[in-house]
């Protein structure tokens, strides 16, 4: 456990909707947790037998409340194990390790107005953001789409808390959809838009924003990738002199951690750039899966983001 980690006890587990549970964490030593900023996430470490899983989850409780943190976890259809573990194994009273909050999805506080677009479990970062906007008297609108009502977390709660003028909900099974064009073409200068949810929603909203003439600068998305599986390979580490095998369903970062190598990371989803690692030698192809490196950097073959990217070929050596 590093200095910025906290040992927490699960204070409550609440079913919120079909396949969605809310977890509340409080510090084991009873001390206050750091306050955070809307849009922040934590990394939860889970000891699942011999494997340690680490997943990033957006904080959804009030950022100003240091008594505990709350996250909502959807059981992923193609879970790599983390969300299933949270759903099936984690019980009230269990002790887990969480990281200090990190914010890669902070609203631009200079904005005059904020449009939040959420799909499904993508609602979670906006819950802490809205608490902060509401307190600060900042104008916002939430447009929240779910597939079916039974899977919609907090649909009624949010309307009740912030009013139907600020919170609009859409259920695709009932044929209601986010009227993107209408929303995008009537916003005053200084409006910022944020989208979080499935990749298709994010791509669609960003495209619609650009088509409506919005500058890229005002369009924001929370993009977390899950490390894709692939063929097993091994990596040589030039500094520690180790060779580590990376399994089919494992990222390089996860394999290094299992081997006791302390590699830097923050988001574990290819977005933040913290785990950027130099490539010392490469006989084969680096499979870049991140959203951080530029196309030129990817083509140079000198850097790799070890949280999501992989390798295929004879031999790869990393500067670790």
């Amino acid at each position: 456990m590093s200095q910025t980690d906290f040992s927490v006890r699960v204070a409550s587990v609440t079913p919120v909707a079909e396949t969605i549970k809310r977890f509340r964490f409080e510090r084991v030593d009873g001390e206050a947790l750091p306050i955070f900023s809307g849009g922040a996430h934590i990394v939860v470490s889970m000891k699942d037998g011999s494997v340690t899983r680490r997943n990033a989850y957006s904080l959804m409780s009030d950022p100003a409340d240091p008594s505990g943190y709350e996250i909502s976890v959807a059981k992923a259809e193609e879970s790599r194990g983390g969300s299933v573990f949270m759903h099936e194994k984690v019980k009230v009273g269990d002790v887990l390790t969480i990281s200090a909050p990190v914010n890669l999805f902070s609203p631009d506080w200079r904005g005059r107005k904020h449009i939040l677009i959420a799909g499904g479990i993508g609602i979670t970062p906006f819950m802490s953001m809205m608490a902060q906007f509401d307190k600060a008297g900042v104008a916002f609108e939430l447009h929240y789409a779910v597939r079916e009502r039974a899977r919609g977390a907090y649909l009624e709660d949010l309307v009740a808390r912030y009013g139907s003028a600020r919170v609009k909900t859409y259920v695709s099974e009932e044929g209601t959809r986010i009227p993107l064009e209408d929303i995008l073409t009537r916003q005053p200068l200084g409006t910022h838009l944020y989208v979080c949810g499935p990749d298709r929603l994010i791509a669609g909203v960003l495209d619609a924003g650009r088509d409506a003439g919005w500058p890229d600068y005002n369009l924001h998305a929370e993009h977390f990738l899950t490390p894709p599986p692939g063929k097993p390979f091994s990596v040589e580490l030039t500094r520690s002199g180790k060779t580590v095998a990376v399994g089919e369903h494992e990222s390089i970062l996860e394999a290094l951690e299992a081997a006791g190598v302390d590699a830097p990371y923050l988001c574990r989803g290819g977005a933040c750039g913290q785990c950027e690692t130099g490539v010392a030698a490469c006989e084969g192809i680096l499979l870049h899966n991140d959203l951080f490196l530029s196309d030129d950097e990817k083509a140079s073959g000198k850097k790799i983001m070890i949280c999501v990217s992989r390798f295929e070929g004879q031999r790869v050596a990393l500067e670790l």
């Binding site: 005059r112 200068l189 088509d211 409506a212 003439g213 919005w214 500058p215 005002n218």
Partner: protein
């Protein structure tokens, strides 16, 4: 005079019409008109119909641009008598503009800086505003001692028009006030002022 590179010095990357914007506002001063006129081939009738031109000739070699801009047949086209009236109109126009609007600014640095201030006040971000430097290199300079602003500074050092100090013109730029910073050059030895160099003609 050695002028060290400073991060705050604005970079004007040039104007290209963004075809995805739904409204285009061109704010042009003097030779800045060329920044729009030179991309005639990109200006489709659809783009021109949604284009507003705010132009001011100022004292520059802006002759003839008024007619050339009018010939574009844009949605609206207006020539302001002074920079101040242009900025006032810009403020009103941006007050009712929406997020599909792109603002383009071209002219001298002092003009770009002042138009940029209006845009930032309206909630726009400087990175979303294409700018192009045209015409004189004259600078708008704030005296860091008396805070007075002198327009059209072409030499360094120069005499502050407000407090009379001899000021060295730095590359240090304030986006908030749209001006470079001028600092006293003879503080240690009053009266020992180097010959002014015409750096910003």
């Amino acid at each position: 005079m050695l002028v060290e590179p400073i991060k705050s010095r604005p970079v004007y990357k040039g104007i290209t019409v963004d075809p995805r914007a739904r409204r285009h506002i061109f704010v042009l001063e003097g030779e800045g008109a060329n920044a729009l006129l030179e991309q005639k081939d990109k200006l489709t009738p659809a783009i021109l119909a949604e284009t507003d031109i705010l132009y001011v000739a100022r004292g520059s070699v802006g002759r003839g641009y008024e007619e050339a801009l009018a010939a574009l047949d844009a949605g609206s086209d207006w020539t302001a008598p002074t920079v101040e009236t242009l900025l006032f109109r810009l403020k009103v126009v941006l007050g009712s503009a929406d997020m599909g609007t792109r603002l383009y600014i071209a002219g001298t640095e002092g003009f770009i800086g002042q138009a940029m201030q209006i845009a930032l006040d309206a909630g726009m971000d400087y990175s979303a505003i294409p700018t192009e430097h045209r015409g004189s290199l004259a600078r708008r300079v704030q005296c860091v001692h008396c805070k007075g602003i002198t327009e059209n500074v072409t030499t360094s050092p120069f005499t502050c028009t407000h407090c009379g100090l001899s000021l060295f013109v730095r590359d240090h730029y304030s986006r908030r006030i749209g001006a470079f910073q001028g600092v006293i050059i003879d503080a240690e030895e009053p009266g020992n002022v180097p010959e002014p160099e015409e750096l910003y003609l």
